[in-house]
């Protein structure tokens, strides 16, 4: 092996010098691209060239300095598989981390695909399933509600503020799902429901998730428990975006993430409290807080990149799930996308939100 190198040592060194010079020049070009703000190159082009140049350096060092170009292919095989696995992990991880943010689009896409017959639509895992087996008459009835919105928009964004969308599962296997709009006042409906002693979490009425352990309330309870938001969509929004920290049961993680169960209703008892919880979603929260006798110094990220409807849904789920509904003030009204939208562009920081919280009169 060494004798083989002895024969062209000077040639080898000259090659190394050339490679080193090219590496140095590339590094300078990369530096120059950033330092001298080359205006005629767009951001996309700059990004492309930076990555292309560093890739060139990467390949040159490996091929020439590490001799992979002329060495046994076994080495290349091992190293390449390591790179592929590493890059694959990165891609999969990125996809997982960004998936929740694109859920509304995925749901929208699912709605535009023709659905299988009733019943099967339950299994999409996000408590979605609306749209399954909706008859043409029902579709026409909803779309002629005077708001001129396609059914898919009604399902995605929620019904008009003063109306309620009710999607009822089939009573028998031969029946279809029924979808109807009604206009009860939420407060009145709740006042009606509360004396009945039904403190069960808001049932996933529109489409019960397969995992929902709560016994389905009877038909009468469903009729009175109607809220002007879709509990299934609310639960799906919460599960996708909040449950990893605050947990599916709203209990949080002691010392790290505060509980929402038995706590959220005290936050939203006042208008200032409603403003605060919306702000905490839009702008995040940073600072030490105390909930139920425990101190929390974790960080709440800003969720403003999510849609108004998704944010309103998460708030409504937190307000009504886990027995929270029974703790709400009688005049509580569900959060609406409009209420969330009104607080966008507030330009708050996570620290400002902390001040908002401190200003609340919390027990």
């Amino acid at each position: 092996m060494s004798s083989e190198h002895d024969t062209h040592e000077s040639h080898g060194i000259r090659g190394y010098v050339i490679v080193a010079l090219i590496l140095a020049v590339i590094t300078y070009v990369e530096f120059a691209i950033i330092e001298y703000e080359i205006a005629w190159l767009g951001p996309g082009a700059i990004l492309f060239w930076l990555i292309a140049l560093s890739l060139a350096k990467f390949v040159m060092v490996i091929a020439y300095f590490m001799h992979l170009k002329d060495d046994d292919a076994t080495y290349t095989g091992f190293f390449t598989s390591g790179m592929v696995i590493g890059f694959g992990t990165f891609v999969a991880f990125t996809f997982l981390m960004t998936l929740p943010a694109s859920l509304p689009e995925i749901r929208q896409a699912a709605l535009t695909v023709s659905q299988p017959a009733h019943g099967e639509a339950e299994g999409d895992g996000y408590g979605g399933g609306y749209g399954g087996g909706i008859s043409e008459e029902t579709r026409a009835a909803i779309e002629s509600d005077g708001y001129s919105r396609p059914l898919s928009d009604v399902l995605r964004e929620g019904p008009p503020k003063d109306q309620t969308l009710r999607v009822t599962p089939p009573a028998a296997a031969s029946d279809g799902w029924t979808v109807a709009l009604s206009t009860p006042a939420f407060g009145a409906a709740r006042a009606e429901a509360a004396p009945a002693g039904d403190e069960a979490p808001a049932p996933a009425e529109a489409a019960p998730a397969p995992t929902d352990a709560e016994p389905a309330p009877d038909e009468a309870a469903q009729a009175t428990e109607v809220a002007s938001f879709d509990p299934a969509a609310a639960e799906a929004a919460y599960t996708a975006n909040c449950a990893s920290c605050h947990q599916a049961n709203g209990a949080g993680l002691p010392g790290a993430f505060p509980p929402l169960a038995e706590h959220f209703p005290t936050l939203v008892a006042s208008d200032a409290g409603r403003t605060y919880v919306i702000s905490s979603l839009l702008y995040g929260l940073q600072g030490e807080i105390e909930v139920q006798g425990m101190t929390y110094a974790g960080v709440m990220p800003a969720w403003g990149y999510l849609g108004d409807d998704v944010l309103a849904n998460t708030l409504n789920h937190a307000a009504t799930a886990w027995g929270n509904e029974a703790l709400l003030a009688d005049d509580f009204t569900p959060f609406t996308p409009e209420e969330v939208a009104a607080q966008r562009d507030g330009g708050l920081t996570a620290a400002d939100v902390y001040e908002l919280r401190n200003a609340l009169d919390l027990p």
Binding site: L23, I34, V61, T74, F93, T349
Partner: protein, 210 residues
Amino acid sequence: MAADAPATATPSVPAHGWRSSKLPDMKLMMWIFLASDIMFFGTLIGTYLIYKGRSLTGPYPQDVLDIPLTTVSTFVLLMSSFLMVIALDALKRNDIGKFRLWTFGVAFFGAIFLGFQVYEFNHFVDLGLTLQGNLFGTTFYVLTGTHGVHVAIGVLWLLSIVVASYVRPWTSKDATNLEVAGLYWHFVDVVWIVIFTLVYLVDFVPGAGG
């Protein structure tokens, strides 16, 4: 290959046991290690990129990163890689004096790089960027710190080679020992090439920063 049963032994199999490969064990092991190490760095870089732009409070990358300074330290590391191949070439030609000089040079350049990093970390902490302060600090320090540890290990390894060459004079027969250390060193350089672009430069692309 490794699954071949001893029964299928060929004349190339030595009597004292069979080998799965005619490649030098040390070199093969180093490449396998590097394959695992690139997965390790892949996840660290991936984590940095995923959390990029999600810090709630400053300092943000544009507030602290110093491109001219890091360009110089990147250049130093690149040139150390060049010295590494020159040192290996010298050893293969049995030019022990040059081999020692260049190997020491590699370690010296590596130490300069570490010096830049120590200065940088100190400066960043003064600016308020800490490991626990925000997501940028956490992911940045873990990634560049892990790389710095790799460089430090490389410097110690190369210095130990220089010392060893005085204890027992090295010849061209020892070239594989140096080559393996060189593979490790070049790999550390390659990782820095990626970090320099994805962590440092990209933050200053107009509109693409976070």
